[in-house]
């Protein structure tokens, strides 16, 4: 079906305008971070700074424990990724290869993580973690996040495992490989792309968490995550927006990079109807 030139131009124009409007906040974050402080109080605001102030990042790292926040966030995200993936791989394999009665239960579990207001969950969790001394420790956040991520990861991984023919494992079993061995030596290498996508998806979810960190880590400033730090910056330094935006940029950059790399895999899983 041939399309007229004007229609093609129309579509491209629409795409550019739409992307421009929708992604404007990201552009604005970038511009504000690089603007000199005086330019922030200009009205009308500048849409491009005369001289990009690259020193703002140094200023941020010098005046705020930003490096500490970043470190904590990375720690939590990696731990969450490892924990939730370990648990999910085993569960997904079990549900994929063994026709257990847990199949229906999985659907319900995923639903639980969607319909459960996390703000309700933190009340008893706070009490439990207090009694076990985990309040103020990163482990409280890691455990809470992992548990909410596991159902969805299990579902995603089960989908991937379902596409791998069981003949590979049968052959390995015949050759004398143990059942656990078949998982690690046969299935996981083949499912590597799906594994990577699921791992990084849990990384993204962990990075975005705010509620758990805010509830469990308020009193231990040394354990704050990026989101907590940036939220505090916004509360205190309401005039140093360039510094805040620089922090926002550094906090968002890793995740945006992950997204750009993995979008292909993630969209496939998301489109079949799932996580927010």
């Amino acid at each position: 079906m041939k399309r007229s030139l004007s229609a093609t131009i129309g579509i491209y124009a629409a795409v550019i305008v739409t992307c421009g409007l929708l992604l404007f906040p990201i552009y604005w974050m970038f511009i504000t971070a690089l603007s000199p402080r005086t330019a922030l109080r200009e009205f009308p605001p500048r849409f491009w700074p005369d001289e990009p102030q690259w020193g703002v990042f140094h200023e941020l790292l010098a005046n705020q424990p930003f490096g500490l926040w970043m470190w904590n966030t990375v720690l939590v995200a990696v731990a969450t990724m490892i924990l939730s993936l370990s648990v999910s791989v085993l569960a997904a394999y079990a549900l994929s290869r063994h026709n257990l009665r847990g199949g229906q239960g999985l659907g319900l579990f995923i639903l639980t993580s969607k319909m459960l207001p996390a703000t309700l969950l933190v009340i008893p969790l706070f009490a439990i973690f207090r009694s076990t001394g985990l309040v103020g420790s990163l482990w409280s956040v890691i455990l809470a996040q992992s548990t909410l991520i596991v159902p969805f990861c299990t579902w995603m991984l089960k989908g991937y495992f379902d596409t791998i023919p069981p003949e590979l494992e049968h052959a390995a079993l015949v050759d004398g490989c143990s059942p656990l061995g078949t998982i690690f030596l046969i299935v996981l290498p083949v499912a590597a792309p799906g594994l990577a996508a699921t791992a990084l998806y849990s990384f993204v979810l962990s990075w975005s968490d705010f509620l758990f960190a805010r509830t469990f880590l308020t009193t231990s400033e040394a354990k704050w995550t990026l989101n907590m730090g940036i939220a505090t910056l916004k509360g205190e330094y309401i005039t140093d927006w360039n510094v805040i935006m620089a922090g926002a940029l550094m906090a968002a950059a890793p995740i945006i990079v992950v997204y750009l790399v993995l979008e292909r895999f993630l969209v496939g899983g998301l489109a079949s109807g799932a996580e927010k």
Binding site: V15, P124, S208, W241, A248
Partner: protein, 318 residues
């Protein structure tokens, strides 16, 4: 055989015991056991961190508790918290705020999601790049998105106020922080910006699943683009629209970070949805019994709303 040493004879009972203890998991008889063993970590984790706490939260909601504790003395059960809930203006306000948020955020996400999905559904070079960029806000952490918008909506120097003044829509800068209506819209803006990508992606998948033949048949019958949209696209998308709207609704009910960082629920409760109210009662005012009651009611409402999703997930898992 006659020169079997005493040591070997003694070893045989040990061997048989060991062999007994080593269940061969690759045999069909034991396969199910192996499966349940693999499932165990997930089940234990969910039981400890989700199921038990939820039961505990219902328990807390039925007690006159300010600070919840595990173990120790328990207060007697009472319906006082739920009585407070049904008569308190805060709860009614939170329900009203949540309802309006659901309508505004859900409706706008649907419109933006549909328009962007239809745009990206067209065939043009760079289409996957466009899809990538249009869904980018999904990847931005909620707190970061909120902080960017907080700056854009700044009452003195924000770019949004600049645009509004410049276009003549307002006479003086809008006070997004202190004006109740403006604050509500501010929260909705951020939610819509964060929420539309997922709607867009799912609607795109829905659009692509509508059979091409239907459109071709319509063309043969001389249908206009509007008629094509109304009689083919929209009906074909109805199931997906249903799912995305339920998911968006549940998200608005549950979201905490955006509202908390932007307005903390203010001014004067103008942006306090049920989720914020739950947290506020529990961790700002330390009335955990009441907070838990709000949370339990919210969870029940969400459970009812998500019933429609149960069939979908159960089916897709099998």
């Amino acid at each position: 055989m006659s020169h079997v040493s005493g040591a070997e004879t003694r070893a045989r009972p040990d061997e048989t015991r060991r062999r007994w203890q080593m269940i061969d998991f690759s045999s069909p008889r034991h396969r199910a056991k192996f499966g349940y063993l693999l499932l165990a970590p997930a089940v234990i984790l969910m039981a400890l961190i989700i199921i038990f706490p939820i039961v505990l939260s219902v328990d807390i909601s039925l007690q006159d508790v300010r600070m919840a504790r595990v173990g120790g003395e328990r207060e007697p059960w009472t319906l006082e918290n739920y009585r407070w809930l049904l008569t308190s203006p805060e709860f009614r306000n939170a329900v009203w705020v949540t309802a309006r948020m659901v309508l505004m955020v859900g409706g706008t996400c649907l419109v933006i999601g549909l328009l962007t999905a239809m745009l990206v559904n067209q065939r043009f070079k760079g289409r996957s790049l466009a899809r990538l960029f249009i869904a980018l806000p999904w990847a931005v952490p909620e707190v970061v998105a909120t902080v960017i918008w907080a700056w854009m909506l700044d009452s003195s120097f924000g770019v949004v106020n600049y645009a509004l003044l410049r276009s003549g829509l307002v006479a003086e800068p809008v006070q997004f922080a202190s004006n109740a209506t403006a604050a509500f819209f501010a929260v909705c803006f951020v939610m819509i910006w964060k929420g539309y990508p997922l709607v867009s992606i799912m609607l795109l998948a829905g659009l692509q699943s509508i059979p091409e033949e239907q459109y071709q048949a319509a063309k043969v019958d001389g249908a206009s683009p509007w008629q094509e949209f109304w009689f083919i696209t929209l009906p074909g998308l109805m199931p997906v629209i249903g799912v995305t709207m339920v998911m968006t609704t549940l998200w608005v009910f549950r979201d905490f970070a955006i509202i908390f960082v932007l307005t903390k629920g203010g001014p004067v409760g103008a942006t306090t949805n049920l989720s914020i109210l739950t947290w506020e009662q529990s961790f700002s005012f330390f009335r955990m019994g009441q907070g838990a009651a709000v949370g339990v009611v919210t969870m029940i409402i969400c459970a009812i709303i998500s019933r429609s999703l149960v069939g979908r997930f159960a089916r897709s898992v099998h």
